[in-house]
């Protein structure tokens, strides 16, 4: 700094002193973050409504009694949380392959990005398949929006509470379960579709030409968010 420059003329270079984005992040990526924030509010509203209804209920279907079968096998009873554990593992795993695709993108390694993106898409489809099986299973038991199994069967799904209350609360459970996992599943489906579009772009070399795999990072944010929401859905529907 030369002695002639008075302090007021010094060019400041701190993040908030102007002339550049203080967040130092590309516009689209910042907007993805703000979209995810708004989506977080949507999912919170759904999950908090679920919490409030359950909290004010005299009885509630016990998760380890409702979810104790493993579809596609002969296990109909006695394996609580096993199937949903598998689903959770698949989704976390596909989050890992996504972040590996982003990492490969930083190194401009087109082939690696492509393979990791494909792995992520396969993980997404597998999760959706599992969810379809889970829904089918519950539907066969008699649960759906506005419909529940008969009282005799409901007795096996509750731990304590008065029998006269079972119908009301089983119905609330069914509506909330299908709405919230359905909304999440719809997000997973959109994520898979977006991932496919991005993978095609990777394949035809759009990002190699552009010199940056930033788009992979942006859809990666969305995909991780979907995983993040599942972590909460899993806790509040299957564990608590």
């Amino acid at each position: 700094m030369s002695a002639q420059v008075s302090p007021i003329d010094e060019v400041k270079s701190t993040p908030w002193s102007g002339g550049k984005s203080p967040f130092d992040v590309e516009y689209g990526k910042m907007m993805m973050w703000f979209f995810l924030l708004s989506d977080a509010f949507t999912f919170s509203s759904l999950l908090i409504s679920y919490g409030a209804l359950r909290f004010s209920s005299a009885s509630w279907p016990a998760p380890d009694l409702v979810f104790q079968s493993v579809p596609l096998t002969s296990i109909e009873h006695g394996a609580p949380l096993v199937f949903v554990g598998l689903m959770t593992f698949i989704l976390i795993m596909s989050s890992v392959t996504m972040v590996l695709a982003v990492e490969a993108g930083h190194r401009m390694a087109k082939k690696e990005v492509l393979w990791w993106m494909l792995a992520t898409i396969i993980g997404g489809f597998t999760f959706l398949g599992c969810q379809a099986l889970e829904w089918t299973h519950l539907h066969h038991e008699g649960f759906w929006w506005g419909s529940i199994p008969n009282v005799e069967e409901l007795k096996h799904l509750f731990k304590g509470g008065k029998e006269a209350t079972y119908g009301t609360y089983a119905q609330q459970f069914a509506n909330l379960f299908f709405t919230i996992t359905g909304f999440h599943g719809f997000h997973v489906f959109s994520g898979v579709v977006i991932n496919i579009i991005i993978t095609i772009n990777v394949l035809v070399g759009t990002y190699a030409k552009r010199g940056s795999y930033l788009m992979v990072e942006k859809v990666g944010l969305y995909w991780h968010f979907v995983d993040l929401v599942w972590v909460f859905v899993f806790t509040f529907f299957y564990l608590v």
């Binding site: 967040f23 919490g51 554990g85 993040l228």
Partner: protein
């Protein structure tokens, strides 16, 4: 949001941070937390080593830890500018507000439910 994220990023869009090794470490942490949750749900609570009302706070805390790891490392927020991290995290306080309001409200709903 550590102070290291305030450090100058030389180039736009470039980040220090996630190597392949670190990614697998975070995966290991997430898997471990999920396994701990399962041990509680399938073993400790059914065998009554841990009372059921203790388990729920444990699940919620472990879930928040998982959320932190996903957001901080997979979503890279820990390595972004502090300003961006605050812009995303501070509004989450509204969600805490909604939780408090509806928890309180649901206490009141109990009295509105038909007594059976």
């Amino acid at each position: 949001m550590s102070s290291e994220s305030t450090g100058a990023h030389a180039e736009h869009g470039e980040h220090e941070g996630m190597t392949r090794k670190k990614i697998w470490v975070v995966f290991g942490v997430l898997l471990l937390i999920t396994v701990i949750e399962f041990i509680f749900a399938l073993y400790l609570v059914p065998k009554e080593y841990v009372p059921a009302h203790w388990a729920n706070p444990v699940y919620i805390v472990l879930t928040l830890v998982k959320a932190f790891f996903i957001v901080a490392y997979f979503m890279h927020l820990k390595f972004e500018k502090v300003g961006l991290a605050l812009a995303i995290i501070v509004p989450i306080l509204f969600i805490i507000g909604l939780i408090l309001v509806l928890t309180n409200e649901s206490h009141y709903w109990v009295d509105l439910r038909p007594k059976l």
